[in-house]
Every structure is written in structure tokens, then in C-alpha cells.
């Protein structure tokens, strides 16, 4: 087991392991893309990568800067368009998607739109982009983020993309298809969602992290099961692949 990994490497390695072979994933730039690439190079060679602007199954020569740049369909099997990418999600053929945001609540709802008053916001963020669509359509959505109280909030200022909304039964009531948040991977732990209440719960703590640390960095009551595992850190092979093949320029993983 390598000990000289950084938290970005940890998060990417953990995320990669959740991506099953023969499935498909809608990715953005950066860490999600790295996770998908790492999965392909380890246990999931048949993982299909789809970009929202239309790129399908590229042989990525390097990290894209944009989900619509030419890398996203470099030697891909198809360079389609946004409608094709999004409807592929809508009809149930995309298994995973990665999302990000400024705020996340305990049901996995995400704010990437604004802080403060909507019409004259204190801070304006990009808005949904394709995130709301992925969160609505894909079977399992994941988030990789740093763990802090300002990010994990009791109530989002604005729900840009749906998690489980208000919990059990709420997606169905709103008319959303089956799906929803699957895993939240932070620099402290891996979290999932309670099968019934759909509230966020700790699944494993990263090596050396205490439950209290997670609690203190979370703005709402987290479900803490009696038994919590320890997240397996990146293996030597995962690190090698990440550093040598996935992100040799260290644009995403930085320097360990």
C-alpha cells in the first residue's frame, strides 16, 4: 500500500472503483474524467465514457479542458450532439454521472446556481449546465468534493440539481425517473444514502479520519452506522496509472 498519495488521488481512486465494467458514465472535466480513465485502465475496460456535448467513447489523449473540446471526441466512436447525449441518459442508457456544486444537503441536492437572493445574488455560479439533466436521468450520480461545513449544508440556497429532494418518495412524487445520488466521495470519507429515508450516511472513513471530524465539517445531522469501514487508499498500481498514464501532466492530481 502506497502512503505517499494525496487526497485528490484518494478520491479519484475510490470513485474509479465504483464504476462497473460494461456500464456507462457521463463525465465532466477534471477529477471525474480521471476517475473514468482510471477505471478503464483497471477493472472496467468496457466502461463507456460520454460527454454532454456529444463525444462518445473517445480515446482521450489527455485531460479535456472543456466537456465540449476536441479531446472529448478524439478518436471516439461518435461525435454527436447534446440532444443525443442527454437523451441517451433520459432513456436509461447512462449508469453513472459525476456532479459538483457549491452546496450539498443531506438528501444529496446540489446548489451550483447562486448564494443569496436569486434576482440579485451575493454570488452567482454557472447554474445547472447539464448537471440537473444528469441528476434527473442517470441511474447513479456521484460527487467528489472537499468536505466542509460551508459545502455540506442543512438547506441549499437554491436546489440546482435533484438529489432525493425531501427524501423517501420525493423524486417519484416530483415525476423524476428512478435514480439519484449514489456516493459522495470527500477528502474525509465516503458517504452513501439510507435505503429508506434517503438521508446521507457515512459508509467509510479515510485512513486516520475520525467520525467527529466528519461531523464537525458537516452542516447537518449525518447518519452514522454502528460499523463504519475504512476506505482503502489508492494501491500502488492505481497511483502508477494515475500519475503515469491518466494525468501525467498532474493537471488534476497535482503533485503528491
Amino acid at each position: 500500500m502506497a502512503s505517499d498519495y494525496n487526497m485528490m488521488e484518494m478520491m479519484i481512486s475510490v470513485a474509479a472503483r465504483f464504476l462497473e465494467d460494461g456500464k456507462s458514465v457521463a463525465v465532466g472535466t477534471g477529477a471525474p474524467c480521471a476517475a473514468a480513465m482510471l477505471a478503464q485502465k483497471t477493472h472496467a475496460p468496457d466502461l463507456v465514457v460520454i460527454f454532454e456535448a456529444g463525444g462518445v467513447a473517445p480515446q482521450l489523449p489527455e485531460m479535456p479542458i472543456s466537456v465540449g473540446d476536441s479531446r472529448t471526441f478524439y478518436r471516439g466512436v461518435m461525435a454527436a450532439g447534446m440532444v443525443d447525449a442527454m437523451t441517451t441518459c433520459a432513456r436509461g442508457q447512462v449508469d453513472y454521472a459525476f456532479l459538483g456544486g457549491a452546496q450539498i444537503d443531506k438528501y444529496g441536492n446540489i446548489n451550483s446556481t447562486c448564494i443569496g437572493d436569486y434576482q440579485k445574488p451575493k454570488v452567482r455560479f454557472p447554474g445547472s449546465g447539464g448537471a440537473n439533466d444528469f441528476a434527473s436521468f442517470c441511474w447513479k450520480t456521484m460527487i467528489m468534493t472537499v468536505h466542509s461545513k460551508s459545502r455540506f449544508v442543512e438547506t441549499c440556497d437554491f436546489i440546482t440539481s435533484p438529489g432525493f429532494l425531501t427524501g423517501e418518495g420525493a423524486r417519484e412524487a416530483a415525476g423524476l425517473p428512478e435514480g439519484g445520488p449514489y456516493k459522495i466521495i470527500t477528502d474525509l470519507c465516503v458517504m452513501g444514502f439510507h435505503e429508506e429515508t434517503k438521508a446521507m450516511m457515512i459508509e467509510s472513513l479515510h485512513p486516520g479520519v475520525e467520525v467527529d471530524k466528519v461531523r464537525s465539517e458537516t452542516g447537518f445531522e449525518l447518519i452514522v452506522p454502528d460499523e463504519i469501514g475504512v476506505t482503502s487508499p489508492p494501491s500502488a498500481e492505481e497511483l502508477r496509472l494515475l500519475r503515469d498514464e491518466v494525468d501525467p501532466l498532474r493537471l488534476v492530481i497535482g503533485r503528491a
Binding site: G68, Q119, P126, N132, G175
Partner: protein, 327 residues
């Protein structure tokens, strides 16, 4: 029609398909020479108060030359479609050209960060905004191109994105499933950058089409900027490749490097240094004003801008980056 719920966001454009039909009835289908300069295209087809949309994806295959002209010609009070916009949005904010906005992706430049000036503008309260998802906007454009007044999507449901949109929740008459009904949008004018086009406007895009197929069919007026104009025999040799037919097009503007500083697939990569410079200078309003004077207001054409940014030598570097030529 039972409406189960509806967003409170403003609806900027009339979704009446018969008014759109009446417009398209009058639009000429004649195959005539539509070549003109960016200056002329903006003079003729983009007016104060119009609702404007740009093709491409943020800093990929964007009609930069048209955006620059919109700033130079001082267009104001535009409506703008903030769909997958990044550098184009940054430009429109730099000129404070719009005051009505349908927002799906704005103020950001993806992995590059957020535009300080775009955020200032959006936080000023000067802009009337509705929020949407990317696909919802694509569905609005697609509905318009199909000649119907709304499209359906199951996204946006249950969220504040829906609440601040102008969508409505309807029920499927067959299954009872709920959908966000999104109103068709026929922008007054759109600009799309393509790989090549003939002088009539028949246009070919290489690589992903993003939402430009839909935008071209929704826009009432369409300005094509193109890396190069080709003889129409090139189009007719391979009609399968045509993404946009001439009868949708009002102006054809030849603009080599027209997506700069954005990426043009197969031709040149984005100029990350120049885009970073934008984000840097935007932090200081005075410095940004000087920067805009230098690069946009102080030049008379996009060609001059390319020269200022390093001209042919820089373009050659970007071509090598795009084509993965390692030196």
C-alpha cells in the same frame, strides 16, 4: 390543459408557433450569395433589443468575430441565450450587451474558473434571468425547429431550476407521467461558427454538433461564420455532411480562426494563455476596460485581433496543440 405546477421565471419570447410560421413563410428560400463581413452581418441582422444566441460550447467552435462586432457596434438590451456559454458569455457581459437572460451555463469557463466580470454583471441585479438546464434549453430550441410550442423533459422537476424557469409541469395523456413542458424559443438571431460553408450558407461541422443543429433550425435569422468558404460543389459532393442548409442562413462570413481564442476541432486548440489573461484582467475593472479597448474596441476587425494575439505564429502553435504535435 391541466398545469400541475409552473415556474416563476420570465418568459422572454413568444412560443406561438403560428407567429413563427408567419415569419418563416416570408423568409426567402432563394439560393443567393450571402457573403458579407462580420460588420455588415451584425449591422443587418442584430439590433438593439433582439434576442441573440451563439452556437458552439463555451470556448469551442464559437462565433467570436460576431460577438466582438456586437460589442464594437454597441448593441444593448439584447436578450441572450446562456446555453453552454463561457467565453461568449464573458464577451457579452464585457459589453453589457444584454439585460434579459435565459441561463443554463453562465459566468464559468469550466475547468478554467469563473469570470469575475461576468459575475459582477450577474450580481448587479441589472439582468432579468430565468434558469434552465442545458438539455431543457436544447429541448426548447428543438421544439422551435419542429414548429411546435413546447417540448418535454423529465429533468428540472422538483428543483429550484424548474422554479426559476418558465416551464410548466404537465401530465402525459397516456401514462400520467409528469413532464416539464418547456416553451419553444425562436431567437431573433443566432451566430454559429462552422468548418466550411458555401456562399449560400450550406454548412458543415466536423465533430460534435452540440446544440447547433437545433439552434440553426430555431433561429429566425442565422449568421454563419466559417473557417473557409468553399464552392458549392464541395457541398454537393457529400450532402450527407451538411448540418445546416442554405435556406436557414442569412449571412455567410468567412473568418479564419473565427473560434479563437476558443478551440476549433481538428484546426486549432483554445489559447489557454489568452483565456487566462481575460480572467486575470477582469479582476480589476479599470485594467479590464483598458484590455477591452486594446483587443476589441480599439481594433476594426477580427483579423486585427488575431494579429494582436500573435497572428499566424500563434495560430500555428495552436494548430500543433490541437493536432497533438509535440515539439
Amino acid at each position: 390543459m391541466n398545469v400541475l405546477d409552473e415556474g416563476i421565471g420570465p418568459l422572454f419570447m413568444d412560443p406561438d408557433p403560428d407567429k413563427a410560421r408567419e415569419f418563416f413563410r416570408q423568409k426567402s428560400r432563394a439560393m443567393v450569395d450571402k457573403r458579407m463581413s462580420a460588420k455588415e452581418a451584425v449591422e443587418r441582422f442584430i439590433h438593439d433589443g433582439d434576442y441573440f444566441a451563439t452556437g458552439g460550447f463555451g470556448a469551442n467552435r464559437i462565433p467570436t468575430a460576431i460577438c466582438h462586432e456586437v460589442l464594437r457596434q454597441g448593441r444593448k438590451h439584447l436578450g441572450y441565450l446562456g446555453h453552454t456559454t463561457t467565453h461568449d458569455f464573458e464577451l457579452m457581459c464585457a459589453g453589457k450587451c444584454f439585460d434579459r437572460l435565459d441561463a443554463a451555463y453562465i459566468v464559468g469557463l469550466e475547468a478554467r474558473g469563473l469570470s469575475p466580470n461576468a459575475r459582477r454583471y450577474m450580481q448587479s441585479g441589472e439582468v432579468q434571468v430565468a434558469d434552465w438546464s442545458n438539455y431543457a434549453v436544447a429541448a426548447r430550441l428543438r421544439a422551435a425547429g419542429e414548429g411546435v410550442s413546447y417540448g418535454l423533459t423529465r429533468s428540472m422537476l422538483g428543483t429550484d431550476t424548474f422554479k426559476h424557469s418558465a416551464a410548466k409541469v404537465v401530465e402525459c395523456p397516456f401514462t400520467g407521467k409528469k413532464y416539464a413542458a418547456v416553451p419553444a424559443i425562436w431567437p431573433d438571431v443566432a451566430a454559429i461558427h462552422v468548418h466550411y460553408a458555401d456562399m449560400y450558407g450550406d454548412s458543415v461541422i466536423r465533430g460534435i454538433s452540440i446544440a447547433d443543429y437545433e439552434l440553426a433550425r430555431a433561429a429566425k435569422h442565422l449568421i454563419i461564420t466559417t473557417e473557409r468558404i468553399v464552392d458549392d460543389s464541395v457541398i454537393r459532393d457529400d450532402p450527407t455532411a451538411t448540418a445546416i442548409p442554405f435556406y436557414l442562413v442569412d449571412a455567410v462570413v468567412e473568418v479564419p480562426y473565427g473560434s479563437y481564442p476558443g478551440n476549433m476541432p481538428y484546426l486549432y486548440f483554445s489559447d489557454e494563455e489568452h483565456l487566462a489573461e481575460w480572467l486575470r484582467v477582469e479582476k480589476d475593472e479599470a485594467e479590464f476596460a483598458k484590455f477591452l479597448d486594446r483587443y476589441i474596441y480599439g481594433v476594426s476587425s477580427f483579423e486585427e485581433y488575431i494579429e494582436l494575439c500573435g497572428g499566424q505564429e500563434r495560430m500555428e502553435q495552436l494548430r500543433k496543440i490541437e493536432n497533438l504535435v509535440r515539439e
